[in-house]
């Protein structure tokens, strides 16, 4: 009998102790966080990660409408390659909406664009309002970053998610960023949209962990992510679908 109790007690010890860990709650302004004393390196002892080959002038660009990640990705790479054109210009050329309005084409569709309530004549209010309406109808669309690059005078190859050697080849060998496309899936397993971002750097920590530097076109945003997670995607968050690499200007 005693042995049975001992057996049961032994069996229950881990669960009794582990249950005590999880019941930590944040409630309203009395939020309490379980914290552990931070273990800090002496700054002189920090072994810094090695940057692969840092770009000195790769600027992040936010997407200027809710659906222009493709234009922002194209803009980042095209500007890096020495052609400082605007996102709405890229969208206008790509979508062939180049009417000589003021501002031109798709620029009237940007989130920050505020229509003039009393436009001058010419064009007059009727034509001006039509320009604004046309821009929103024709320009607020999702599109392929590859097509955006091509229609603006650049070529690229489509690849599956790059392995580390190929990534290094793009960033260091060619000295170029590349465009990466991820897909989202709903909890029922159905596809639920896609998003493009630009990979512009990488680094390796002293223990060999690899990281990529990603600009995803949210406002003023940039992040580092473990390469292994970025390469495949994060379950429940995104799946890395493909990359546009070897981007160069058409002769």
């Amino acid at each position: 009998m005693n042995k049975s109790w001992l057996f049961l007690f032994t069996l229950l010890i881990p669960y009794l102790t582990s249950c005590a860990q999880v019941e930590v709650s944040l409630s309203g302004d009395n939020a309490a966080i379980v914290d552990v004393p931070p273990y800090r390196f002496n700054p002189e002892d920090v072994l810094a990660a090695t940057p692969l080959c840092p770009f000195t002038s790769l600027a992040s660009y936010k997407q200027n409408t809710g659906v222009w990640c493709w234009a922002a990705s194209a803009q980042m790479v095209i500007n890096y390659l020495g052609n400082p054109i605007s996102q709405c210009y890229i969208a206008s050329i790509t979508l062939q909406h180049t009417i000589p309005s003021d501002p031109p084409g798709c620029c009237m569709a940007e989130d920050s664009f505020v229509p003039d309530p009393n436009p001058p004549d010419p064009p007059g209010k009727i034509l001006y309002d039509q320009w604004v309406e046309d821009a929103r109808t024709k320009c607020l669309v999702r599109y392929s970053p590859l097509e955006a690059l091509r229609k603006n005078g650049y070529t690229a190859d489509t690849s599956g998610p790059l392995g580390w050697e190929d990534l290094t080849g793009q960033l260091c060998g060619q000295q170029k960023p590349y465009v990466s496309v991820v897909r989202f899936y709903d909890d029922n397993g159905s596809l639920a949209g896609a998003h493009s971002s630009v990979v512009g750097g990488g680094r390796v920590t002293p223990n060999g962990d690899k990281y990529v530097e990603v600009s995803d076109h949210s406002e003023d945003d940039f992040f580092l992510m473990k390469w292994e997670a970025f390469k495949t995607g994060v379950p429940g968050d995104f799946v890395h679908a493909y990359d546009y690499i070897n981007i160069k200007q058409l002769p």
Binding site: V22, W70, E213
Partner: protein, 268 residues
């Protein structure tokens, strides 16, 4: 030998049950009565703490350009980073849930995707958030105040500069994105993780702050940027950063905005 067999059996059983203590929630477990919006699993903070105090100094080293892009004000700050703020639980709202949003149901039901939750410890029915976004602070504060003020600056020293997102994967809290200074500064300007959660709408690349209303099953939504999709139903004006609308109103309008998006549409 009999004792050895018994101990082996005990050990095997314990390992099996322990792996079940933290597991992805099943659909049947995720319902309004079981969810704990503001419950934090301690391991998530340990992971964030490691990134804040150990990994970031390694990654940045003396790279001033990377330091700047990650949102920090100077290299001198990198070795004294802290993450004392309550983290934001982050909930994804997928395309199909948004497209089929039923305004007659509670708005919290939009968060009930399985992928948003883990089960604490069966048979306990409670489920907790699977993603947390931790603000990272520089420990010193200029005499002129923080360059980007946050709601908790009066109670927590230092200034919010960057962030780390952690996620529970296969029973382990793993860090995901490190940085996103623009996002975290907007989130902490208008809310805090003790009272707000983050709604992430990947198909629109959009983030909102959300809090529970007095009913406990409906959300109030606060914009962190001027919203291109939603208008105030009374004034007709754009839903602006810092303003709050009912979740029902926001999701009704977002439903219209995503109605024409196809599953196979190109990126946006």
């Amino acid at each position: 030998m009999n004792v050895l067999n018994r101990l082996t059996a005990i050990f095997t059983l314990q390992v099996f049950v322990l792996t079940m203590l933290i597991s992805t929630a099943r659909a049947a477990d995720v319902n309004v009565s079981n969810i704990r919006l503001f419950t934090l699993f301690p391991g998530s903070h340990n992971t964030a703490n490691y990134v804040t105090t150990t990994l970031l100094p390694q990654l940045i080293g003396s790279d001033d350009q990377l330091r700047q892009r990650l949102g920090f004000s100077s290299l001198a700050e990198i070795n004294s980073l802290v993450s004392p703020d309550p983290p934001f639980a982050v909930f994804r709202v997928g395309l199909s849930r948004l497209q089929t949003f039923n305004s007659a149901l509670s708005t919290i039901s939009l968060l009930l995707e399985e992928e948003n939750w883990f089960q604490f410890s069966p048979p306990t029915p409670a489920v907790g958030p699977v993603r947390y976004l931790f603000p990272i602070r520089e420990s010193s504060r200029p005499a002129s105040g923080c360059p980007y003020s946050s709601l908790l600056d009066s109670t927590i020293p230092g200034c919010v500069a960057s962030s780390v997102q952690v996620k529970l994967l296969s029973g382990t809290w793993e860090f995901q994105q490190i940085g996103r200074p623009g996002l975290i500064k907007k989130l902490t300007k208008f809310g805090n993780g003790g009272t707000h959660v983050v709604i992430w709408i990947p198909v629109l690349n959009l983030y909102y702050l959300a809090s529970l209303d007095t009913s406990g099953v409906n959300l109030n939504i606060k914009a962190i940027t001027n919203d291109p999709y939603v208008k105030d139903p009374i004034t007709g004006n754009q839903f602006k950063a810092g303003e709050t609308l009912t979740g029902n109103e926001v999701f009704k309008q977002l439903k219209i905005a995503v109605q024409s998006i196809g599953q196979n549409d190109p990126p946006g």
